[in-house]
């Protein structure tokens, strides 16, 4: 009959109206600034840098290898590695900036980082009053603790932690073996006074990195021998940024 469709429609809206007063299903609005939805674990916004321990800057896992800088599609990461007084890189970023107005949240930097030191954050309220400097996130702002990482993505952070622990264990074993070998070599070389001069610089660089990140040197030891050597070998040559140097 004419009008029955209208009555059906009216019934639907009436159900909505009445339901909105008692049935949360029919009033799904979350009044945002006061109430918030819990974000899904996989939600991501912008990258941040993970640090271990208490000190945000000293504990950074990042070794300033610049892999993320090179891979970032819109080129919004800018890194200057830290150097000691003699001008040698110390595997720390001195400047680590991400331009949030350019970052597209693609997560490629996270994928390429060999040290699990850059991860995607869940902060989405990044409004600033200045659209140039205001949206450039500096090292201090980007550094967030591992605890925070555990808070926002427990599963992923736990995986990363076990992986890092495993790598650390392997590295320690390797270091122990190396130390044993070295001790043997040293014992053998003790007879001859000459080789002491050659081992000295090698042992000098290791302690320089060691105090900076307590958990780090062991992790850094196994894989990054190519990267550390390249960054050490070409500090001047790397200054003009190549568009993409995929290793």
């Amino acid at each position: 009959m004419l009008g029955s469709g209208i009555i059906k429609g009216l019934a639907v809206t009436a159900k909505n109206f009445v339901g909105s007063f008692h049935d949360p299903e029919r009033l799904p609005t979350v009044e945002y600034p006061e109430k918030r939805l819990t974000l899904p674990e996989a939600y991501r916004s912008f990258p941040f840098l993970v640090f271990d321990g208490e000190n945000a800057i000293d504990g950074l896992r990042c070794v300033a290898c610049k892999m993320c800088e090179n891979e970032c599609p819109p080129q919004c990461i800018y890194i200057i590695p830290e150097r000691d007084e003699k001008g040698r890189p110390v595997k720390k970023p001195k400047v680590f900036d991400i331009d949030l107005s350019v970052c597209m949240g693609c997560q490629i930097c996270v994928e390429v980082c060999p040290f699990d030191s850059i991860k995607m954050d869940q902060v989405f309220e990044v409004a600033a009053t200045n659209r140039f400097e205001g949206l450039i996130a500096h090292r201090e702002m980007l550094a967030k603790s591992n605890t925070y990482y555990h808070q926002i993505r427990p599963t992923e952070a736990a995986e990363v932690d076990t992986r890092l622990a495993e790598e650390k264990r392997l590295a320690e074993e390797k270091a122990k073996a190396a130390a044993a070998a070295k001790a043997a070599a040293a014992a053998k070389a003790a007879a001859a006074p000459k080789p002491v001069a050659t081992t000295a610089p090698a042992s000098a660089t290791a302690p320089a990195a060691a105090p900076a990140s307590p958990a780090k040197p062991a992790v850094a030891a196994p894989s990054p021998s190519p990267s550390s050597s390249s960054s050490a070998a070409a500090p001047m040559a790397a200054a003009p940024k190549p568009p993409a140097t995929t290793p």
């Binding site: 009959m1 009216l10 809206t13 909505n16 909105s20 009033l27 609005t29 009044e31």
Partner: protein, 395 residues
């Protein structure tokens, strides 16, 4: 106590006019009525906009405005401040005088129709003998103002919208009047206050003698409300301001407070038409049950008015906008024939007024059949071939 409450507005008026010398008292009391209408319906308008937004929100599963003040109660004032502080733009090519005049006139015409609505037992601004006639004369002129707005804007969208408004007005004025005529026939008067009095009384103290509770009255009310929605240009008949086709129709070239005035006029027009509907069909200020007469009559009027307006909001939240040909077809092929049949129905009801006993049941049955059968038949012919719709490409 009840009598005092009932007469309270009158007492206040007499108290105020008492301060003035005898010769100007009529003028003062007239002005007071205007001020009262402006104040009451101004505030009513303000909160109607808020209520509409809130209710529409609820109908669409969202809470509606709730940021300004507690529960968003200050929203109308924030809107008013916003409208007042916005720049008032007049297009260069516009007819400056008419462009300015249109919003003023549209509000004025919306307001003058309030003059003949009996808000309470003793509350009627002007008790005219030909009140219904006056009401429609005033109501129709507001469409003139709409056309003025469309014409003066010198904008093709405004113009098309104004044309549509006129087409819509002419189409729906007829069913509106046809729905009203039976009431006038049966109560034998054009005066709104007498029509309300004629609907007084209760059967067994609980069934009121409102016109809507008779077959012809129900059909009349139904036709009246559909036509009233169309007359006030509200969804689903809001063709003159169809945003998707005409930007904002006749409002396209208006900004700032003039824009707000059009909205005010729309709500005034809606309140006035619904007020007339309440007066003619829902017993005006009469209480629904005998014992509820302790509540003052003007409260009943406002309650009924608000209920009717709420139904309009409900309809607005539910239905889609019609196309212009569907709109006029609905008026000419459906509402006008039904209205004419209803006229005959009312005549039958009038002639069979002295039937009693079992004949009373026969009277009701005949009267109901006279209106239901044409409704079904016309509905069937109108929708034959239109439904159910088959979609060739979509599944």
């Amino acid at each position: 106590m009840t009598a005092t409450l009932e007469r309270l507005p009158l007492l206040v008026r007499d108290w105020i006019t008492g301060f003035f010398p005898e010769p100007v008292r009529w003028l003062v009391s007239g002005l007071l009525a205007i001020v009262a209408i402006l104040a009451v319906f101004g505030l009513y308008f303000a909160y109607l906009t808020l209520a509409e937004r809130k209710f529409l929100g609820r109908f669409q599963n969202r809470p509606g405005p709730n940021r300004t003040g507690p529960f968003g109660l200050l929203q109308p004032f924030a809107d008013a401040v916003k409208a007042l502080t916005k720049e008032d733009i007049v297009p260069q090519a516009a007819d400056k005088l008419l462009h300015f005049l249109a919003p003023c006139l549209v509000v004025a015409f919306g307001l003058i129709s309030f003059a003949v609505i009996p808000f309470g037992r003793y509350l009627i601004p002007v008790d005219l003998d030909a009140a219904v006639l006056y009401f429609f004369a005033a109501g129709v002129s507001s469409e003139l103002a709409l056309f003025m707005a469309g014409w003066a804007s010198h904008n093709k969208y405004s113009m098309i919208s104004a044309m549509r408004a006129l087409a819509q007005l002419i189409s729906y004025e007829l069913p509106l009047l046809l729905a009203v005529v039976p009431v006038i026939m049966l109560s034998g008067t054009l005066s709104t206050s007498k029509i309300v009095v004629a609907q007084g009384g209760w059967t067994f103290g609980i069934i009121p003698h409102w016109n809507v509770l008779t077959p012809w009255g129900f059909a009349g009310f139904f036709i009246f409300m559909i036509a009233a929605v169309a007359e006030t240009n509200r969804s689903p008949f809001d063709l003159p301001e169809a945003e998707s086709e005409l930007i904002a129709g006749h409002l396209t070239e208006y900004s700032g407070f003039k824009y707000a005035l059009f909205f005010m006029a729309e709500y005034f027009g809606m309140s006035a038409l619904c007020g007339l509907g309440v007066t003619l069909f829902l017993g005006g200020w009469q209480a629904p049950i005998d014992i509820l007469q302790v509540v003052p009559s003007y409260v009943w009027f406002m309650v009924k008015l608000s209920c009717v307006i709420f139904c309009l909001m409900w309809v607005r939240a539910t239905l889609l906008r019609l196309r212009i040909d569907q709109l006029t077809r609905l008026a000419w092929k459906f509402l006008v024939p039904l209205g004419l049949i209803n006229l005959g129905n009312a005549a039958f009801w009038h002639l069979s007024a002295d039937w009693s006993g079992p004949l009373q049941i026969v009277r009701w049955a005949i009267s109901a059949a006279v209106i239901v059968i044409p409704f079904v038949l016309i509905g069937r012919t109108l929708s034959s071939g239109l439904a159910p719709r088959t979609y060739r490409y979509a599944t």
